[in-house]
């Protein structure tokens, strides 16, 4: 894997969709050319101050030819609020690509169980699987139809997308895990990636432990550096007395290897 670079990059476009989620397209050739699915960048649009630390975001897609990559940022606190107001043409500091790229694509069928900002994390993987002509089934859920994240991108790369909404405004009215269970029952998937919601992580880990699927989690954690310097992004290892680092050992972990709260 290529070592990350630290660069002042340019914001080439920005678009809000759905409300509260900002899609940023950033020009930085080396990151665009070396990034793989599962990797992230640390981004900073500010100098010494408050906020001060860079923030981690998954690489949604990278275009090595155009030298650009895309992020999808849920506006949460001050860092993401700041990034969401940056104008086209602004400079911002990026370090990346960081974390381990996903390199095993030998599954017969892969399911992606996502919701909210978690959807951003799996788009690159869906694209990679599609390129390899591997079946990929996405279970995308949200509170309501208008809150679905990265929907069109996931539809573009998935064999099939199943929608679940809490209020039934589209697709299945209920929990995305029900749709996942059905896919597994139907024998379509042997591998599941999930992220964000703890509920999903617990469900997938249970399936993994039961031997029904190979489960993988995109984990988060408060990050200082994104590259192993600070030991801030610890996640408890299953069974053992110790921690793994999300930025170095992940951000994607086999679900049975880590403790899920």
């Amino acid at each position: 894997m290529a070592a990350p670079v630290y660069r002042k990059a340019i914001l080439v476009s920005r678009k809000e969709s759905p409300k509260g989620y900002m899609h940023l397209v950033i020009r930085e050739e080396q990151i665009a050319q070396t990034a793989g699915p599962g990797q992230f960048v640390m981004v900073r649009g500010w100098h010494t101050g408050d906020p001060i630390l860079p923030r981690p975001f998954d690489i949604v897609l990278a275009d090595p030819l155009k030298g650009i990559f895309r992020l999808c940022i849920k506006v949460e606190g001050k860092g993401t609020r700041f990034l969401s107001t940056l104008k086209k043409g602004s400079g911002l500091y990026v370090t990346g690509p960081l974390g381990k790229s996903i390199t095993e694509f030998d599954s017969a069928g892969t399911a992606l169980l996502v919701r909210g900002a978690g959807a951003a994390a799996v788009v690159f993987l869906a694209e990679t699987l599609a390129k390899l002509k591997k079946p990929v089934y996405t279970v995308l859920s949200a509170s309501t139809k208008s809150r679905l994240v990265c929907r069109s991108l996931l539809e573009q790369f998935s064999t099939d997308v199943f929608i679940a909404t809490d209020d039934g405004t589209e697709g299945y009215s209920g929990n995305g895990t029900d749709l996942l269970d059905k896919l597994i029952e139907e024998g379509k998937v042997d591998t599941v990636y999930t992220c964000g919601a703890h509920r999903f992580a617990r469900h997938v880990k249970a399936l993994d432990l039961a031997g029904k699927v190979r489960g993988y989690l995109f984990l988060e954690g408060n990050m200082g550096c994104g590259m192993g310097d600070c030991h801030g992004c610890a996640v408890k290892k299953e069974g053992k007395d110790g921690y793994a680092l999300v930025c170095m050992d992940g951000p994607v972990f086999r679900s049975r290897d880590v403790v899920v709260e």
């Binding site: 070592a3 900073r44 010494t48 001060i52 630390l53 408060n222 600070c230 030991h231 610890a234 110790g242």
Partner: protein, 313 residues
């Protein structure tokens, strides 16, 4: 500039400093626990360009560290409650120390003990490797369950430092805690106990509360505050110690580039360490070295040693 045939006056400036008889090619090093030497950092700059290298503090035995969340951002700073996870001295000496040794700059090995016996055993073990130039005693981590840091109580400080100094020939650097009424007293005690140099400061004990969860933000409840936020306190610590002791001081706390580093040098530090700013700008140390060089050239100095302590008038 050099390429255009024009002489760069900065290249004439002597950046080397002397820390307890060890020559640092320049006065900028990482602060322990904030910079790793590994391939991830390959595209930034070479650690061989640093004034010195240092490991994250090790204990004799492996330790898991604290439960997450381990870090929390604060205004112009951060709290950390990492808790010094480590694989133990044996693994360090086998896997990490030789890498540091091969780089070129002097190697500072940072250690901590849970008991007096451990301080002794670990010091002797490090010395026996022949791969360390300086031994830094981390007497000041605020995140250890073992209780208050070793350097907030004069008698304890004296006991640890003099004991270790009595056991090893390596020059000993005492890293002090600022969580005291007058750090100059502690500096004097460390010097009198045989420390060959001081590192100051380690982090301040602090905390944050997550107002959504209504709970302490860190898994460990409290953490250590570092970053530009504490720089005025760190500069004062160095300034006041410099008026009291003769041994060299490695200054740290909020160095984010050359301006801050020069402040520490003027306050009396012989070298500076960059801590959390390594997380924010992976080139921070390189930028600091170059910026000091430029400042010295512009101000007409031929050696960085001319400005050490100059702020005292």
């Amino acid at each position: 500039m050099a390429g255009a045939g024009i002489e760069d006056p900065g290249q004439q400036v002597d950046l080397s400093v002397d820390i307890a008889g060890v020559r640092f090619p320049n006065p900028v090093m990482p602060a322990s626990g904030t910079y790793e030497v590994d391939e991830i950092h390959d595209n930034f700059f070479s650690p061989s360009e640093l004034g010195a290298v240092i490991n994250k503090t090790i204990f004799l035995h492996p330790r898991p560290g604290n439960p997450p969340p381990r870090i929390w951002e604060t205004p112009c700073g951060m709290l950390n409650a990492i808790g010094i996870p480590c694989d133990g001295a044996e693994a360090f000496i086998r896997d990490r120390l030789p890498i540091l040794r091969r780089l070129g700059p002097p190697v500072v090995v940072s250690i901590a003990g849970e008991t007096m016996d451990e301080w002794i055993e670990l010091s002797e073990l490090i010395e026996s490797t022949g791969m360390a130039d300086l031994l830094e005693l981390n007497l000041s981590c605020p995140n250890l369950s073992e209780g208050i840091p070793w350097s907030t109580e004069e008698k304890t400080l004296e006991r640890v430092v003099s004991t270790v100094v009595g056991r090893v020939k390596l020059p000993v650097v005492a890293k002090l805690s600022p969580v005291v009424t007058d750090i100059a007293d502690m500096a004097r005690t460390a010097e009198a106990s045989g420390a060959a140099a001081l590192s100051m400061i380690n982090t301040y004990k602090g905390m944050a509360i997550d107002i959504k969860k209504k709970r302490p933000a860190l898994g460990n409840i409290t953490g250590g505050l570092s970053g530009p936020a504490i720089r005025p306190l760190a500069v004062w610590a160095v300034y006041s110690a410099y008026e009291t002791v003769k041994i060299p001081i490695i200054g740290m706390g909020g160095v984010d580039g050359p301006t801050a580093a020069i402040e520490f040098l003027l306050a009396g530090a012989s070298a500076v360490a960059v801590g959390m700013y390594n997380f924010i700008d992976p080139f921070a140390m390189k930028r600091t070295i170059e910026g000091i060089r430029t400042y010295l050239a512009e101000e007409g100095y031929s050696s960085v040693r001319e400005i050490i302590g100059l702020g005292h008038g």
